[in-house]
Amino acid sequence: MMDLQVKLPGLNLKNPVMPASGCFGFGKEYSRFYDLSLLGAVMMKAATGTERLGNPTPRVAETSSGMLNAIGLQNPGVDKIIAEEVPFLAQYDTEIIANIAGSTIEEYKEVAKKFNDAPEVKAFELNISCPNVKEGGIQFGTDPDMAKEVTTIVKRASDKPVYVKLSPNVSNIVAMAKAVEEAGADGLTMINTLTGMQIHLPSRRPLIANKTGGLSGAAIKPIAIRMIYEVREQVNLPIIGMGGIETAEDVLEFLLAGANAVAVGTANFQNPLVMPEIINELPKTLEKYGFSSVHDAIGKAVFV
């Protein structure tokens, strides 16, 4: 039998596939379609210190091979998530990763401290790359010094492994990765969405009420692969890769580029069963291309 297991800081993944944050809520809706214990892990929707209502609608627009979204971090706040959402996910045999967001460093710290006391949460994903909120988020993700600072503070506030989620909206992704590595990050997740816009012809206005939104889906996969390749060459942290994954072949491509595990976002919307299907296909795909385990394929792309 093909070995799909991956061990990462804080995470014992039975397979390398998990939902990307914000595309799976807190799992309840998709648990109506399949047993969440099939998943390697679940990355929860972003949590902030207090409830966020998010942006006005429309919040999504379809694009060629992808979509734009500007949800604006709508979430019930960290306390409610710990009280009501974490216990639901904890029923399943899968690892729980909390996605932490905030407008200020203080808020990131507060959310991290609260999740630190929730034993079911195995690791943090530090969302310094949300392009859809006015304050915080993206500026932490585009300025290496701020990224370093917020990572340092969150590391100090907790003893759980911290994976920093990188934004592709930068010209030097390696500088960002190195900055958070220096700050003590335990891993990276990449990529978040790329800022985009769509103009609605009849009204001549941006279709998304927030004007801009984050581009996700198949359209961004080559960018994710390129960025993982660049970071993998120069940074030693484990990487959870994401951006446009739809098939087991896509997963293998991410592994080859240097990702240790992967997350699937937008593809869930088209096919709610996409992750169990990928997990089911993955052994055959690995075998087809001559690998004997997931571990065997990581970073095996040939660049010389």
């Binding site: 929707k45 609608t57 088209q270």
Partner: protein, 250 residues
């Protein structure tokens, strides 16, 4: 709610840019209620398309949908031919609530492509002995559909914006104090719903809303609507698409 393959068994154009289809399956058709929708995947489109369930025949295991060719997705769907398989999630959302012991007369108000879900509702209500009156608004004569079908349910008034068929004007122009009903149900463009709910603010009613959706199952929080109470936003795909008219801010 499940992801199922439905078989397209019948398709025809019934008005300008308006298609009627019948789809067959063993699951959705057995549990669908009026006001729920199916969420349809189309090859080469990232997002699914939400389409209301316009009628259900549980014995034949078929449901009817009616849709307007609006953009590229619905245009590609309109080219499907009987025998083809349609990838659907459904039934999604919560339908129109009704307690037939507590009502005698209802008013259905549909605008354009908001008319379809009211048909299945009207049929169910009529079969339970409720008196149904319908006001159906369309832009122009060429777009009018299902007048005959609604006539079978009770008094039906057709209105067109340009007066090319039926009465001239908007559905809200037609509703006068002489209309006597316990409850109203409506689906149509947001502008129409806004005018209607303010005109009928003293009446109890339910409205079905449209918004651009992501997952369609309640996970991504794309299609939200503000509420008048403490609940903040509700999700149209999951908590709706039908809401009490007094609960939401349009």
């Amino acid at each position: 709610m499940r992801k199922v393959e439905m078989k397209l068994v019948y398709a025809r154009q019934i008005a300008e840019d308006t298609i009627e289809m019948k789809l067959e399956d063993n699951y959705i058709t057995q549990i669908a209620e009026p006001g729920q929708f199916i969420y349809i995947a189309l090859p080469n489109f990232t997002l699914r398309r939400p389409i209301s369930i316009a009628d259900v025949d549980r014995e034949q295991k078929q449901l009817t949908i009616l849709f307007k060719i609006f953009g590229r997705g619905t245009a590609s769907f309109a080219a499907y031919e009987p025998g083809m398989i349609v990838d659907c999630i459904g039934p999604n959302g919560n339908g129109f609530p009704f307690d037939t012991d507590k009502m005698e007369k209802v008013l259905l108000i549909g605008g354009g492509i908001g008319v379809p879900p009211l048909y299945y509702l009207g049929k169910k209500l009529k079969s339970k002995g409720i008196e149904v009156t319908s006001i159906l608004g369309y832009q122009t004569a060429a777009q009018v559909f299902y007048e005959e079908e609604f006539n079978q349910l009770g008094e039906t008034i057709v209105v067109t914006d340009d007066g090319s068929y039926g009465e001239k004007g908007y559905v809200t122009d037609i509703i006068t104090d002489s209309f006597n009903f316990d409850l109203y149900y409506s689906c149509g463009p947001t502008g129409m719903l806004r005018a209607l709910t303010s005109k009928l603010q003293d009446k109890k009613g339910y409205i079905s809303l449209e918004e651009r959706m992501g997952c369609g199952v309640g996970a991504c929080a794309a299609c939200v609507v503000s509420t008048k109470n403490e609940q903040g936003y509700l999700k149209i795909c999951h908590d709706g698409p039908v809401f009490p008219a007094k609960e939401v801010i349009l």
